[in-house]
């Protein structure tokens, strides 16, 4: 692989990771969805570039699917839900923003320390892509933990899936079936999430997961 191919792939992977950090410090839902859209665009570009560099055409399909589903369909649909259900537009973090960022940086360090030593015989690009994607996955987890709002939990879940796609495109010749399934599952997951958002709205008049937690079958 030439230097340019390596540099570009590295840059795009890092962009996806950067948008993961951007997701962590958003205080408004609209800004959160914007950051998610940018992450999806960066991911689609990364997939397309890998498709070009590896000469594997099915990665272009992955790129298009990512672009259509995650950069267009889902943000638009989530925005509609936010408007239609008149959800609180600000996000109340369970952890303070500063603390979340510190935790995020430590998670990235952790994943680099974890991945680099065990992958010594893989190509440099694969290794670094893997470290980046593990970071994106862990940051997505952190976001799901540190946010109480159901919409931002959905966004956190989808950014975990972004990290998984980033990992899958970085490994040479990963069979098509997995990428298709990711795209498909995200779509199905979104439908389910959507249904849930509506039902939760019906029952609770709020999308604050913290309040739902009080409905414990045991305690009543």
């Amino acid at each position: 692989m030439s230097n340019l191919a390596y540099d570009a792939a590295h840059l795009l992977g890092a962009l996806v990771l950067m948008m993961s950090f951007a997701l962590l410090y958003q205080r408004r839902l609209s800004a959160l969805l914007n950051a998610f859209t940018l992450q999806a665009v960066a991911l689609a570009a990364a997939a397309a570039w890998q498709g070009y560099a590896q000469h594997s055409h099915h990665l272009f399909i992955t790129a298009v699917l990512t672009l259509v589903l995650k950069a267009v369909v889902m943000p638009v649909a989530l925005r509609r839900i936010v408007v239609k259900l008149n959800i609180e537009r600000t996000i109340e973090p369970a952890l303070s923003i500063g603390l979340t960022m510190v935790a995020g940086v430590s998670l990235v360090t952790l994943s680099i320390l974890l991945v680099m030593p065990v992958t010594e015989d893989a190509t440099a690009l694969t290794r670094e892509d893997l470290a980046l994607s593990l970071s994106v996955v862990l940051l997505g987890l952190l976001m799901m933990i540190s946010r109480r709002n159901a919409v931002s939990q959905v966004v956190g879940f989808m950014s975990i899936e972004n990290g998984l796609i980033l990992a899958a495109i970085g490994v040479a010749g990963m069979p098509m079936i997995v990428e298709m399934s990711i795209a498909f599952s995200v779509m199905v997951a979104f439908i389910v999430f959507g249904i849930f958002l509506f039902h939760i709205r019906e029952r609770f008049d709020t999308l604050d997961v913290q309040k739902i937690e009080s409905f414990r079958g045991e305690s009543q």
Partner: protein, 477 residues
């Protein structure tokens, strides 16, 4: 080899067909018929040769799980038909929900059979993900606030678990790809088993940790079990029965497939201690939690966590005897726990409540049902002569021979759980029944068929089954 394709396709086709039937009565019986056909065809696997294609694999390990899954889904569909009738008559479920329910039931069976028989890591992952989605939809069937909360929690926790499992799957491919070349073979079980010895063990270890945590969430292992009691308690009882009896087995099966790869590699870490620790933690946690449960379905859900802990511990111990005990326990727990949920479903309908302290004198007011529950609890507590006794006995003795201290903790956990089971069931089954007895028109056939099978297994195991268990126990390392 073509037979397995038919077996997997049957429930998928039935799901589409059931979605078209408007009458819930007809759909319930069509559901039974579909499950029966699938079960009868699955029996043909015993005559058919085992083997592997690019999509499916049938070997000593999954053949009995496939047949068990078909069997339990048949008996559960029978139970479901009578259970659903009562729920509609009391107005808890609407006809529209049921059309969806029956289609989802078959879709769920399809995903489980696909996960069990897939020869491809990716396909198996997709199937487990599909099983999660279909059950989430069924858990929220009642549309009450606790049901939706349970489904949401289930979805978030298992969604994250499934995501981690996919990361592990990608790592597994990444480990195999330099040795086996890019493409499909590096994701195929049977090809991987042949070349895994040359694979980089470090990446394999990393992959296994992600897979254990990921699929372990679906098994309901200790720190990741939070979704399980809620999903069992708030969903319809037939779904609790298949969740406990079948889905947890499928998740364990997935973990074990990867454990086989690690065992075949040689240089990779020994996954045993990690699994044994998680198993023991689940066992002890569930045993203590059993004492404070007030909801009958939640109570038996914790009992499922306990037994999943036992099974994981058994495979963590490894060795021919403990592995044998684990495999046997998977089958016995599946039959017994689903039988208990059949009883519990009708008990909750007869008494109009799921609260344990409001249920009493079952053997007086509903003798057949009450005694069925008592027998089921005796079986799940691991008392002789039922099959669970045999597997637990085998596990404790094989552990005692190697690590006496661990066996002590193990036995303490089992006894604690037995105490809780006896205490609770005594209150529910005996004593004065409160209120006038409400008749239940449930079918008790599935319940007693399961109990009879567990009893027979406790006394005598068929020779081919023992031979398969031995083969698989050796492969598991």
């Amino acid at each position: 080899m073509n037979l397995i394709a038919v077996i997997v396709a049957l429930p998928a086709l039935s799901a589409g067909f059931l979605a078209l039937i408007p009458s819930w009565r007809m759909a319930a019986w069509a559901n039974v018929a579909a499950a029966a056909v699938t079960f009868v065809v699955s029996l043909g696997l015993f005559a058919d040769d085992t083997g592997a294609g690019w999509l499916f694999v049938v070997d000593a390990f999954n053949i009995y799980l496939v047949v068990l899954t078909c069997f339990v889904s048949l008996t559960t569909s029978l139970f479901s038909a009578t259970y659903i009738r009562h729920e509609v008559e009391t107005g808890r479920l609407k006809a529209l929900n049921l059309r969806f329910y029956h289609a989802m039931y078959q879709a769920f069976v399809f995903t489980m059979l696909l996960a069990l028989s897939a020869n491809n890591l990716g396909v198996m992952w997709v199937a487990v993900e599909g099983a999660t989605l279909t059950t989430v939809l069924m858990v929220s069937l009642y549309r009450t606030a606790p049901a939706i909360e349970a489904a949401w929690k289930y979805f978030i926790l298992c969604g994250v678990g499934i995501a981690l499992a996919l990361f592990g799957t990608i790592l597994m491919y990444m480990a195999a790809q330099p040795v086996m070349g890019p493409g499909l073979p590096a994701m195929t079980w049977t090809d991987l088993m042949g070349s895994v010895a040359r694979v980089n063990p470090d990446i394999l270890n990393l992959a296994f940790v992600f897979l254990l945590v990921g699929y372990g969430t679906k098994v309901g292992l200790a720190p990741l079990h939070a979704w399980l009691p809620d999903a069992h308690a708030e969903g319809p009882t037939p779904i609790s029965a298949v969740l406990s009896g079948l889905l947890l087995n499928v998740a364990i099966y997935a973990v074990l497939r990867f454990k086989m790869l690690l065992a075949a590699n040689g240089a990779a870490m020994a996954p045993g201690p990690l699994m044994a620790l998680m198993g023991l933690a689940s066992l002890l946690l569930a045993a203590f939690m059993l004492y404070r449960r007030r909801d009958i379905k939640r109570f038996f859900a914790y009992s499922s966590i306990e037994h999943m802990g036992l099974i994981t511990f058994a495979f963590g111990m490894g060795g021919p005897l403990a592995n044998f005990a684990g495999l046997l326990h998977m089958a016995m727990h599946s039959l017994t726990k689903s039988a208990i949920f059949y009883a519990v479903g009708h008990v909750a309908q007869a008494k109009g409540t799921q609260r344990i302290d409001k249920i009493s004198g079952l053997t007086v007011s509903h003798p057949a049902l009450g005694w069925g529950l008592v027998l089921g609890v005796v079986a799940i507590a691991g008392l002789p002569p039922f099959g669970v006794f045999m597997s637990e006995f085998l596990l404790v003795t094989s552990t005692f021979a190697r690590y006496p201290w661990l066996a002590l903790i193990l036995a303490a956990g089992i006894l604690l759980a037995v105490g809780a089971l006896v205490m609770r069931v005594q209150r529910m089954a005996f004593g004065e029944p409160d209120g006038a007895p409400v008749p239940v028109h449930g079918s008790l056939i599935p319940l007693y068929v399961h109990l009879a099978l567990v009893l027979v297994a406790g006394v005598w195991l068929p020779e081919p089954l023992v031979a398969w268990f031995r083969t698989v126990a050796a492969l598991l390392g």
